[in-house]
Structures are given as C-alpha cells and as structure tokens.
Symmetry: C2
Subunit: 370 residues, 2 copies
DNA sequence: CGTATGACTGCAAGCGATTGTATGCAAGCG
DNA sequence: CGCTTGCATACAATCGCTTGCAGTCATACG
C-alpha cells in the first residue's frame, strides 16, 4: 500500500498548494473545498452537513461554499463521518432465507423505504442458519449500521435475540413470530388470519381440514396454534395425521399432500402455512389427478408473486408488507437520537387480508359445486 | 451529542485508567487492548491486522495481545480501517429489479460468494429505473465499496456505464447483455441457448414458433435476435405478428398469449424470453381452455424457482448462476491490488442448459402425441 | 569490555470529517 | 470615544486505526 506519506507540505515558498485533492484517490475532500473557497474546514463542514448548529453562517459564504462543493464534485466520506459517531445512514438487514419467494417483496419494500429515508441497505443472508445470523449481526454492528432489521424468524437460536437485545443500535424484527419481547417486533396477526381462512373454508362446508407446515418458524407456530384453536372452538376433532410436518419448500408441500391423500379419510381442504407449501400441495394434487378445488381445496399464506398464475389461482392471505416495513423503519430509525421512542408501539400487529381465488370451493359431494 | 471530550488524561496520580473503553459505545478499541496488554497501539495493530510487515514481533507478545483481544471481545472498526485507505470489504450490488423472480437466486449466490471472500454486500435496488442506478452507484462508490456488481441489464441509460467505466473501483456487470465493452461483463450465451430451444422445438415438429419478450433488456435483445437468426437459417418466414411486445411480468405473458391465439394462424409453440413470461403464457393458455403442450408448446428461460411446480412443469433453459457469480467475483475482487488482472477473461460467457419438462411436445395433429 | 548489529517496541503523524472553544471584527451603547 | 455584544470564522482536538521512523535493550563481535 504505497501511499504517499506526506502530501500537504506547506510548500517551501509559502504558497498554499492550489487544491491538492488526495492524489491517491482523486476524490475531493472537505479540505479541498475549504481551500478552494478560502474558508476553514469547520465552516465548510457546518454548511454542508447543515446540522442544527448554534453557530451562524453568512448567507454569502454558504452560497460560495455550496457552489464550490458542487463544482468540485465533493462527496462527504461516510467513513470519516461515521468515525465521529455520526449516523452512517446504513441500515442492516439480516434475511433468514432469501431463497424463500416471500422475501423479495419484503426486500423491495425495505430498500425502497430505506432509500426514502436516505439510508442504504447492507444485506446479510443468514441462509436459514441461525448461527450465521449471529455472525452477521456482529458484522453489521461493527459496520456501525444505524439500525438492524431482522427479516423472518431467526429465533431458533436464542443467543441471537439475547445478544441483540444488549446492542446499542435499534434492532427490529419483522415476521419473527411474536414471541420475543426483548426486541421490538412487527408482525402479522397470524391467529386472526388463520381464523379467517378456516372460517372461509368452514363456510364453504368443509369439516375435514388439514394444516401443513413445520412448527418451527415463529409465524408458522402461531398459525398452527390458531388452526388447532379453531378446531377446538368448533368442537371438531384434532387429528395429528392432519398436521403433517413439511419443510417450507414446494417439495415439502408435495410430500405432505401425498401423505394426506393416502389417509383413510383424507381431508377435503388443506390450509398451507405458506404459499410455497400451498403451491406444492396444489401441484401434487394435480399430479395425482385430483381436481382443485372440486376434490380438494387449498389455501396459502403470503400471496407471493406467482400465487395467482398457477392453476387454479391460489386463495391466500395477503399481508400489508409495505405498511409493516414502514412501521419497522419508523421504530428503528424514526426516533432521531435516543434509542426507541417510547411513544410508538414497538410490537405492532397488522391484519392480513383474505384473497379469495379459485383454489377453494365447496367440498366434494356437497350438492351444487357452484 | 454530549460526547465526553477528553477522556484519556494520564491520571494525575500516575495510574493509567484501567481500560476505559469508549464510554459512549462500550466497544473496546485498539487502545483498550493496548493498555490491557501494556503495549503500544502500533504493536497491537500490527499483530491484529497481521499485515506483511517488515517489522518483527515477539511471539510471546503476539500471544499475549491476541489473548487479550479475544478476552475483551475486540473487533476492529471497519470505518477507521477504511479511512486509512484499506479495503472496506464491502461489495456493492446494484440490482435492476429485485421483484423479478430470477434475481433471488442471484442475490443468494452473490451473498454466499461474497461471504466466502470475507465481504459484505451492500444492496442497491434500481427499481428498474436506470436513473436511480446512477445515483446508487454514486452512493456505493462513496461508501468505498471495494467493488461493484451490476445485476441485470442497467444499460438503458448510457450515462451509467460511461460513468462506471471511469471509476476507480472494479465494476462488473452480470446479465447485462454483452453489449458493453467498457466494463467487464459476465454473460450467458443467449444466442446459443435460444438456438438450443428452437432446435428442441423444431425436432418436435414445430414450424410455427413465436417469440415473446420486449426487446429492451440486453439479454432479451440477444435472445430475440437469435430467434430471428434461427428462422432465417431454416429459411422459415419471420412474422412480426409472432413477436409481440410484452413487459417482463406474468401479465405481459398472458396478454401476449391472447394476442397470439387470436391470430388467423396461431403458433404451435411459443418461446418465452423469460420464465416469468412463459408462466404467464401457460396460465393464459390454460385459461383459454387450451392444453399445454397438446395444443401449444411453451418454453421459458432462467428456470426460476416455481418453474417446475406449475402445471405443466416448464421446459426452460437453466443458467449456471453460481458459476457466473463466482466468475464475476473473481474479476471484481480477485486481483489483490491493481485494477483488473489482465490474465483473466473479463467477458466470460457461460452456456445454459436445456431442461426438458412437460410444457413442450409435438405440435397438434402430428400423429402420436406420445 | 566498548560498541556495532539486530530484534522489538513505541512515538506520532495522519485518513476525512465533526464540533467545542477561541478569535476577529463591526456595530451598539453610554 | 472606550467597551460590551454578537455575528462569522478559524483552531484544534478527536473518532479508531495504520505505519514510517526513531528509540531501546540485549546480544555478539572485535
């Protein structure tokens, strides 16, 4: 790293070197702007970062500086800024699994919202492994992100959440399943949503309803519980064989369907814990020669892109992704200085909306199939 | 920002304050480690950043320092490091449109590869607008990313590419359509791939083949050209009405299909420029009561997740995403110091692989539909 | 036994920006 | 006309870390 060690010698003859500009990088620095305008760095700094300063600046000077800065193409160095403890305008995002089709929309919302606030997003991909998430968090923190968003349930490793709780930056978890009270969480009303789905199915005449999803991720746990609770309220039987374990992938859904259809008394409707699962369910059903929804109804959750272009288009629950991300952002970077703003709810819960499409219908043999 | 201005007074009585640790943040600094070990910062720095230094360090000292550093949980501050011109270990990624289902896999590959190299990824979402991409680039550069990856065709705004060419960090474009020679590009052999698809269809007996995709994105332009070239080679007629314009969304594909099927002589096979388009095509065909592939064959491009769980599973071209990203990474951050390594090919082209599934078959009325 | 070589370390000067405090100057007041 | 005020700037100290160069012993050589 052959960096010229001393560049800014006061020039033996006394003349100040014009505008040296860090020779190595070619990027104009604050000092260059100061020199070019014949004012001090402090003045330039105060003007450019127009922070609420007690010190007044002459309008003329401000003009001049602003002009030179633009002319030189000056850009503040975020590194130096961050060093002094100023905000880095970086938002860390730890994503459970970017491969999951429900995340792109979330990421899109996050980057858009963040940009709107002048923030950049540093992406960390946990690849489903909580171990990596811990490490990621460390990285993000050391990068001095102003806030960190946890996207998806990363709670299977308790250490993470605990560590995060002790951190100095705001950390907000989205779709984490509302189990943690240590950190703010923004969630969807899973119980309410599943209840809505079940009621939709029940209204259609279904009684033998299965639920597919692995009780591991926070959101899915809640959904499963809501499913059981509904059955109980109705006084319907809870059959363990109606709740097969399934990894959250298309294949998981496919296997689950085959399992369910091999049962002596197969369900007439299946609630998928996610759209991915539901699409797998539908696909496997079709492969088996079953008709959806004539032979079996299927519902999903998330309304991922593509959920409406499968055949039949999927009935599912749509979450207000944008609003949720916005809420998280407000909690995370909304309060200017001190930690969280006590005035805002740090555990908001949003309602999902039932999108009825063609994958649900009356159970087989129920008179008029519409 | 009430930051205690002077902290490290030599303590009147001569005792060195234990380990002050930046009170504001609570994060141990290099100085803390130095004090705790009773050595100078320089020594600690040299040890921890084990840079190839001409200056030798006693093994015992090294041990001691390493041990204390670990005990204190010391983490170097990337900001301060970057300020000195060291690598920031940040990789900028500008994504054309994260909403496009083919990108998640790419992002996944990028984050994984980057992590493997010790890099973090800063994500920029261009939202399809090239104007934003320019701005993004500026941001990423000012963040001192060690390299920048352009994901997807951002070339519709020429300024971007020009600006980028003059930058000092390595910039590599992936899936940019191989039109730019100003910056390194990693591409898939679109012409070869489309030729493969066309041959597959021709071998099945199709002669009336349509192509759906908007000639705007680099990759798609190439694919369209290859389509025409194939027709020409065979001496088949190029019908403009067989090349409808279609936005790269499910809906675009659906509209295109309806358009094609309203033709007096509709095609028996349709090549979708992307899987998204293809899925839209299939969906619309099914809606129209057409059977795929009995009535019309459809092919896609990308093999996005989900392409195999629609009905019928999509015949498509799969790209070696991982290998392509790896190649880009090698170009971008492979050479340690000076720009690009002249030894490596900066315009590698990868071959896509035909994945035959069930959306293609012989044209209607061709004897045995197997 | 004095003094060269080395092997190790410490000093201190920045990187680029922020910010508390001091300074220069022109009005304003009595 | 001297001095208080207040406005506009400049100074200088840091943030945490890297690094060229100077300094310190200890050992080895003449």
């Amino acid at each position: 790293m052959a960096r010229p060690s001393r560049q800014v010698h006061p020039s033996p003859d006394g003349t100040t070197p014009a505008a040296s500009t860090n020779v190595a990088t070619g990027v104009p620095t604050l000092r260059d702007v100061a020199r070019a305008t014949s004012v001090s760095q402090s003045t330039v700094s105060r003007i450019l970062s127009d922070a609420p300063t007690a010190i007044p600046i002459a309008a003329a000077t401000r003009e001049r500086v602003l002009e030179t800065a633009k002319r030189l193409g000056y850009r503040p160095n975020p590194l130096a800024r961050g060093l002094m403890g100023a905000r880095t305008m970086l938002l860390g995002a730890v994503i459970r699994d970017i491969t999951d089709p429900s995340f792109p929309a979330i990421i899109e919302a996050v980057t858009t919202e963040a940009t709107g606030h002048g923030y950049n997003v540093v992406l960390g991909h946990a690849q489903g492994k909580a171990g990596e998430a811990v490490e990621l968090w460390a990285i993000l923190e050391s990068r001095h992100c102003d806030a960190i968003l946890l996207l998806g349930d990363l709670s299977n490793q308790p250490t993470l959440i605990e560590d995060l709780a002790g951190t100095r930056e705001p950390v907000v978890a989205l779709w984490h399943g509302s189990r943690s009270t240590v950190i703010p969480t923004v969630n969807v009303n899973n119980r309410g949503a599943i209840t809505t789905v079940m009621e939709h199915l029940a209204a259609l005449g279904h009684q033998r309803i299965a639920f597919v999803g692995r009780r591991q991720l926070g959101d899915i746990v809640e959904r499963a519980e809501a499913y059981e609770a509904f059955l109980e309220r109705r006084g319907w039987q809870i059959r363990p064989e109606y709740m097969p374990d399934a990894v959250n992938e298309y294949e998981g859904g496919m296997e689950a369907l085959h399992h369910l259809m091999r049962l002596d008394e197969p369900p007439t409707a299946i609630v998928g814990a996610t759209d991915v699962l539901a699409i797998g369910l539908v696909h496997a059903a079709l492969q088996r020669g079953l008709r959806v929804p004539a032979d079996v109804s299927v519902t999903g959750f998330d309304d991922i892109p593509g959920a409406h272009v499968i055949m039949p288009p999927l009935t599912t629950m749509r979450m207000p992704v944008r609003a949720m991300v916005k809420a998280a952002m407000d909690i995370a970077i909304g309060s200017p200085d001190r930690g969280f703003d006590p005035a805002v709810d740090v555990h908001p819960v949003f309602e999902a909306e039932l999108v009825i499409r063609d994958s649900t219908g009356p159970p087989p043999g129920s008179g008029n199939p519409t």
